[in-house]
Symmetry: none
Subunit: 455 residues, 2 copies
C-alpha cells in the first residue's frame, strides 16, 4: 500500500498535465455542434485507460458513446466487483464573456485548475483512474475488480445509460457503485452524501398574437404574452418561499431528528453562504435552514426567460410569445412523473384564455436516499478519514444524479457518493475550477477505499 | 376651383410616372452607405418643386438635408400661412428576400404602387405637391401661403429638425402644420387623426447572486431573479387590464361622449381585429372598446424579457439576473417624466430585498391632442368629405409622432394629421405599397383643404 501512496505522491505533476489534456475537449453534450468533440474526448479517454493498464473501449449508444474500462481480471479469483461511474460531458459555457480564461484552455491559478468540466466531472472522476493506475503500475494487488463506466450524456439526462445498463446487466453487476460527482463542504470536511434531490425539467411557452405587433398601433387591446407569463409564474411561489402548486409537498417524508442534527453539522453557515453567492440576502422556504432548503426540500426554479426584443435600446413591440425554462428539484419519495402531472395540470388551470399554453417536457429523475449506516458507507467513511486526516460528515446534496436510481433498479447496487467538489468550484457557472488538493486527496481516498471495501 | 380639379384629373398618369422617379431613390436614412442617395433625392425634389412653380432649396443640417419649398409670395397680401410637413427618407428594406419586387424599382399592381417609401412618406406627401401644382399651373389663386418642409431624418428620430425649427422660427411661423403621414381605416373611411399617444421607455434589471448558480447545489436557499422579476411585473397589471401603479391614471382627461361616439365609428370591429392579430382573444382595460384601448388609454407593455439560459435543451441554473424592456404608451395630459417618476418609485417600493433593482431610462415623448372641433379641424373634415365623397371619421392613433410636439412648442402650431395610408400598406415592412386612389383623392383633399382653411 505504501508503494501506491508513494507513486501517487511522485506523479502529481504529470497527473495535472494529463487532466489538462482531458479538459481541452469541448464536450458540451447539450449542443449538437459539439458532437465531434464528445467523440474525440471518448477516444482520448479509452486511449488513456489503456495506457494505465486497463482494458477499455468506446461503447456506442443512440446518443454520445459510453467509455467502459476494466481492471485486469483473474476469472478464478472471487474478488468483489465495484463500478466507478463518471461522465466526460460538460455543461454549456454560456455566458462566455464572464469567463476570465477560456473554458477549454485549462489554467492553474493558486490551488486550482480552471476549466469547464474541471470539477464536474472530469477532474473528480480522473482521481479514481489515477488511484487505479498507482495499483497497476506498482504491481500492488487490487483487492477488488473494478469497472469504470464514464458516459457522455449526464448533463442532458443520461438518456441512453438505462438501456446500456439493461443490455449489459451480467457484465455490470456489482456490490456498489462509487461516484465522485458531488461536493464536500471544505477541504477540512470530507463528506459522504447519502441523499440527492430528483428533478423534472420542462419549458413553458405562451403564444399570443401571430407575430410581434407595433405596440403603439395595437398595444392595449391585446394580451402581452410576457406579462401573461410573468403573472402565471408569479402565482407559483408564495411569500414564505413555498411552491403553491396543489399537492406539490404531499409525498415528502419529513426529515428525522438525526438528519436535522447531521444537517446542522454542515460547516457553511448562512453568513458565509450569502457571501459565497454574492446575493443581497438568502431566501427560501420558511421553517428550514439554508442547508435543509438546498438539499432536503423541493424547488420550482426558473432557469431562463425569453421574450421579444433583447438587443440594444428599445423596440416598441408586443411580443408574439414568451417562454420560461423550468426545473423542479424533488426530494426522496416524490415521483417525477406525478409531480410533472400536477404541475402541468395546475399551469393549464391557471393559464388565462388570452394566450395559448404549450408545455414541452424535458428530462426527469427521482431523488435518491441510502442508509448512512450500511457496511459500505462505513468503509467509505474510513477511507475519507484516512485520506483527509479529519472526521468526514454525512450530508444530503441538492443536485441530482439521476442514474443512481438506475443503478439501484437495474443492477441492485447502492451508490457511494464521495464528492470532491468545493462549494466555490462554480460547477455549471463561468470560471469552473477544481481544487488540486481535492484531486490528490481524492486519489488517496480512492486508493484506501478498495482496501476498506474489500476488507 | 373646377380648373384645379380638371387639371388633377387630366394629369394622373404623369403624376404616377413622377412618383415612380421619386421612389427610385434609395433614401434610407438609417444606413450610412445611402448618404449619397439621400442627397440626390433632396436635389431631385428641389428641382421638381421648382418645375411646378415653387421656390425651393436644400437646407443643410448636421445630418441629412431638409428641402424647403414655398408658394410664390405677395408681400402685400395677408393670406394665412400653413406648413406642409413630410419626409423623403425611408425605412431600411431588410429583409430583402421577402420583397416580391425590388424595393426601389416601383411597380403598379392592381390599384397600388409598390416600393419602399410609397406610403411612408413619399407618396402621401407628393399628393400635396401635386395639388399645389394644379393651382399654380392653372393660374388659380391659392388662398394661403404654403411652405413645404420635407426632411430626411424622420425614420431616425428627426434629430436635426428641432434645431432647424428654432433657427428659422420667423420664416416657419404658421397657422397650422398639415401632415399626411398616418393612416385611414379604409378607402371608404377618410380620417382626421386628432390625438396620438406619447411614450416612455426604460429597462428593469434585477440582480441576484453574483453569478449563475447550480440550481441543485444552491436552489431553494436563494432568490431566483427570474421569479422575482415575474412577481414584480405581475403586480403591475390587474385582472381588469388596469395598470396598478398608484397615480398612473391620475392626469388623464376622460374621453368625452362625443369622442367615444367617434371611436365607435372606427370600422375595424373586434372580430376583424382578433383575426388580423391572430391572437387567441382580445384583452385590454375593462370599460373601454378595443379602439379606445389601443389609441386613447395608456399601457404598460413588456417589449422583451431576458434571463438565464435561452439555448437548446435545459441548463440547471439559478440565473444571476433577469431583465425586462418596458415601454408605457401615454395619453394626452400625462407627462412623460412624471409618469417615469411614479413608475420608478413604485418599482423601488415593491421590489423585494432579495434582489437589487436597477432601472435604465430610455426615450420619452408626450402624447398629442388637438381639438377635433376647432375651425381648422372642421375645415379639414370638410375637405376630406369633398374629396372622398363619404363622411370622414375623427380618430385617435396609438402610435407616437414626436415632431408634432416640436411644432406646437417651437412654432405654436397645431398639426392636422390627414393620413392617406391604408392598414395593409406594409409601412416599415417588405412589399410597402400606396393605393393610387388614396393618392388621387389625397390630391383632391389637399386642393379643397386650402380653400376650406382660408375660408
Amino acid at each position: 500500500m505504501q508503494a501506491v501512496i508513494d507513486y501517487l505522491k511522485a506523479n502529481q505533476e504529470r497527473f495535472v498535465t494529463e487532466l489538462k489534456e482531458y479538459l481541452r475537449f469541448a464536450s458540451v453534450s447539450a449542443q449538437s455542434q459539439h458532437k465531434p468533440d464528445l467523440a474525440a474526448c471518448a477516444d482520448w479517454l479509452v486511449h488513456h485507460c489503456r495506457q494505465i493498464g486497463l482494458t477499455a473501449e468506446v461503447r456506442p449508444t443512440a446518443g454520445h458513446p459510453i467509455v467502459v474500462a476494466k481492471t485486469p481480471r483473474d476469472p478464478k479469483s472471487k474478488k468483489p466487483h465495484f463500478m466507478v461511474y463518471g461522465h466526460y460531458d460538460v455543461q454549456p459555457v454560456e455566458p462566455l464573456a464572464l469567463w476570465e480564461t477560456p473554458p477549454f484552455d485549462p489554467v492553474i491559478k493558486g490551488d486550482s485548475i480552471y476549466a469547464r468540466g474541471s470539477t464536474d466531472n472530469k477532474g473528480q472522476n480522473f482521481a479514481h483512474l489515477k488511484a487505479v493506475e498507482a495499483y497497476l503500475k506498482t504491481g500492488t494487488p487490487l483487492p477488488c475488480d473494478l469497472t469504470f463506466v464514464i458516459e457522455g450524456e449526464e448533463e442532458v439526462g443520461s438518456a441512453n445509460l438505462d438501456k446500456f445498463l439493461k443490455a449489459n446487466k451480467p457484465e455490470l453487476k456489482c456490490a456498489a457503485v462509487v461516484i465522485s460527482d458531488t461536493g464536500m463542504p471544505s477541504p477540512k470536511h470530507p463528506a459522504l452524501t447519502y441523499a440527492l434531490r430528483g428533478i423534472i425539467a420542462f419549458e413553458i411557452k405562451l403564444h399570443g398574437p401571430a407575430r410581434d405587433l407595433h405596440s403603439g398601433v395595437f398595444g392595449g387591446a391585446i394580451e402581452n404574452p410576457a406579462m401573461a407569463l410573468s403573472q402565471l409564474l408569479a402565482q407559483l411561489r408564495d411569500k414564505n418561499g413555498r411552491v403553491t402548486i396543489p399537492g406539490f409537498y404531499d409525498d415528502i417524508v419529513p426529515l428525522s431528528k438525526f438528519e436535522r442534527q447531521q444537517a446542522a453539522l454542515y460547516p457553511l453557515k448562512d453568513a458565509a453562504l450569502k457571501k459565497l453567492l454574492g446575493s443581497p440576502q438568502l431566501f427560501g422556504e420558511r421553517g428550514f435552514t439554508a442547508t435543509e432548503q438546498r438539499s432536503a426540500r423541493p424547488t420550482f426554479e426558473i432557469n431562463g426567460l425569453t421574450s421579444g426584443y433583447q438587443g440594444e435600446g428599445s423596440k416598441t413591440i408586443v411580443p408574439s410569445w414568451a417562454s420560461a425554462k423550468i426545473t423542479c428539484r424533488l426530494v426522496p419519495n416524490q415521483k417525477p412523473e406525478h409531480v410533472r402531472k400536477i404541475v402541468c395540470a395546475h399551469l393549464k388551470k391557471i393559464c388565462p384564455p388570452t394566450v395559448r399554453l404549450e408545455i414541452a417536457a424535458g428530462h426527469g429523475a427521482e431523488a435518491y436516499l441510502v442508509s448512512p449506516t450500511s457496511p459500505h458507507a462505513q468503509a467509505a467513511l474510513r477511507a475519507l478519514q484516512s485520506a483527509f486526516g479529519c472526521p468526514p460528515i454525512l450530508m444530503r446534496e441538492g443536485g441530482s444524479i439521476p442514474i443512481v436510481n438506475q443503478f439501484k433498479k437495474i443492477l441492485g447496487a447502492d451508490s457511494l457518493l464521495l464528492g470532491l467538489g468545493l462549494p466555490d468550484d462554480n460547477a455549471h457557472s463561468p470560471n469552473e475550477k477544481f481544487n488540486l488538493k481535492c484531486f490528490s486527496k481524492g486519489q488517496l481516498m480512492s486508493a484506501h477505499l478498495w482496501q476498506e471495501l474489500a476488507g
